[in-house]
């Protein structure tokens, strides 16, 4: 479903993505892991067409990202830090997006109900706390039944209860055959969710393996230990 080929991107002199390629069919859940500043968010933004890569091609469901725009109706995106028009209310933002997307089918309001966002519909976006903003982002990401979910640090800033609710929703949608791409630094919670791991460092993709393969290779039971095992091996000397 996703095909990324030889993506390169630099901001000024800083090479953020250096020849990144990977591909994935649907129905899996990919963890995108790597140290801070390794290019995870930039890669995600390339997938969404928010950042224009210098070279390389990205295809989502065989549609080239750099030319098209329709493919974005298949993507639900939850940004790391949501930015919304400050003087709009939560309800207005949600209605506006449905209106602009001209989405007529049944909306997936599980997250809205789980987080009880309807009570907060009259709050202005500018007054929201970081956690509530994350909840709104999550609600919008799931709202239009997309086939591909891109979640950038989904549980950062959420309280433990909400974070559990979100994970339950991810599990449920995974069973429905959606493709998930999740970045997180909390590896323990990825353990239960992901089936594949993509590891990036300094703008390069170091490996793309299934979780089981990674565990047997490193001889560790937990993802966090397997990754730290790997990081120690590949420490720049």
């Amino acid at each position: 479903m996703i095909e990324v080929q030889h993506i390169k991107k630099s901001f000024g002199k800083l090479q953020v993505l250096n020849d990144v390629s990977f591909s994935s069919p649907g129905g899996s859940c990919i963890a995108l892991i790597g140290p801070n500043g390794c290019g995870k968010t930039t890669l995600i933004k390339c997938l969404l067409g928010m950042v224009v890569p210098d070279a390389g091609t990205i295809k989502i469901k065989n549609e080239a990202v750099n030319k098209g725009w329709e493919y974005r109706s298949m993507i639900g995106y939850m940004p790391q830090i949501g930015r919304y028009p400050e003087n709009m209310k939560i309800g207005q933002v949600i209605e506006m997006l449905s209106d602009i997307r001209m989405y007529k089918a049944q909306r997936d309001e599980d997250i809205i109900n789980a987080f009880q966002l309807k009570k907060l519909y009259n709050k202005r976006m500018g007054t929201l706390s970081g956690g509530t903003m994350q909840k709104v982002s999550a609600a919008i990401a799931f709202l239009f039944n997309p086939e591909l979910m891109i979640l950038d640090e989904p549980t950062a800033g959420l309280d433990p209860v909400s974070s559990e609710l979100l994970k339950e929703k991810i599990q449920a949608e995974k069973r429905n055959g959606k493709l998930f791409l999740i970045t997180s630094h909390i590896l323990s919670e990825l353990d239960e969710l992901v089936s594949h791991v993509v590891y990036m460092q300094d703008g390069k993709l170091l490996f793309h393996k299934t979780l089981d393969a990674l565990k047997t290779e490193t001889g560790e039971e937990k993802l966090s230990r397997a990754i730290s095992h790997f990081m120690k091996q590949h420490q720049p000397s």
């Binding site: 928010m50 974005r72 995106y77 602009i100």
Partner: protein, 255 residues
Amino acid sequence: MRKIVKYILLDILKNKIVLVYTAFLLLITLSVFSLEDNTQKGMLTMLNLELFIVPLVSIIFSTIYIYNSSEFIELLVSQPIRRRSIWLSIFSGLAGALALAFIAGSGVPMLLFERSVISMMMIGLGVMLSVIFVSIAMLAAVTTRDKAKGIGMSILLWLYFSLIFDGIVLFLLFQFADYPIEKAMIGVTALNPIDLGRILVLLKMDVSALMGYTGAIFKDFFGTQKGVLLSFFVMLLWIALPLLYSLRKFNHKDL
């Protein structure tokens, strides 16, 4: 695209600055015409005010508005919408709102005081200048991420079009006073939409006799149907070129 324009127009209305601008224009127009008993003189005062205020408000308000809607733009870019539609919607929203504000604040009262070709031309000019300076603001706002720099650039551009350009023209006129540059001056006016508008309206007002030989040459050119059409075309270029260039930049911008 029509839907995005709707949201932008609603947002601009909620902002109230455009309403204040309309009221301000209304106040100026009414006071100018009630102070002058000669409407011809009143028109001349209106022309000078219009050429001063309309570009200033259009360019500054638009630049600040575009920077302030960066969140809105970011939100929409990740949705299944063409980048082109987002950018052109912002342009249409701003241009529509400012042009309407001018028509309501200045155009309608002007027509009430004097129903003539000159009034119609002044309204056309005001609308054109509103749209042109929105277009220039779009270009200024897309070139830099830094808000202070962007607004500074807008102010400089406005200063250039309303003051510095005239200074340069005067300087050239004096430097080349010994040469027959009157015809070349017609070409130079195309480089500034404000001057172009000023000359067009002044010639209609029959005060061109005050402008000497250059005035006669201008009258020869701008007084004809062809000259007016050509100037209109140049003004359209002033809308299209900055807008298209900014659109190209926006299409390749990282958000």
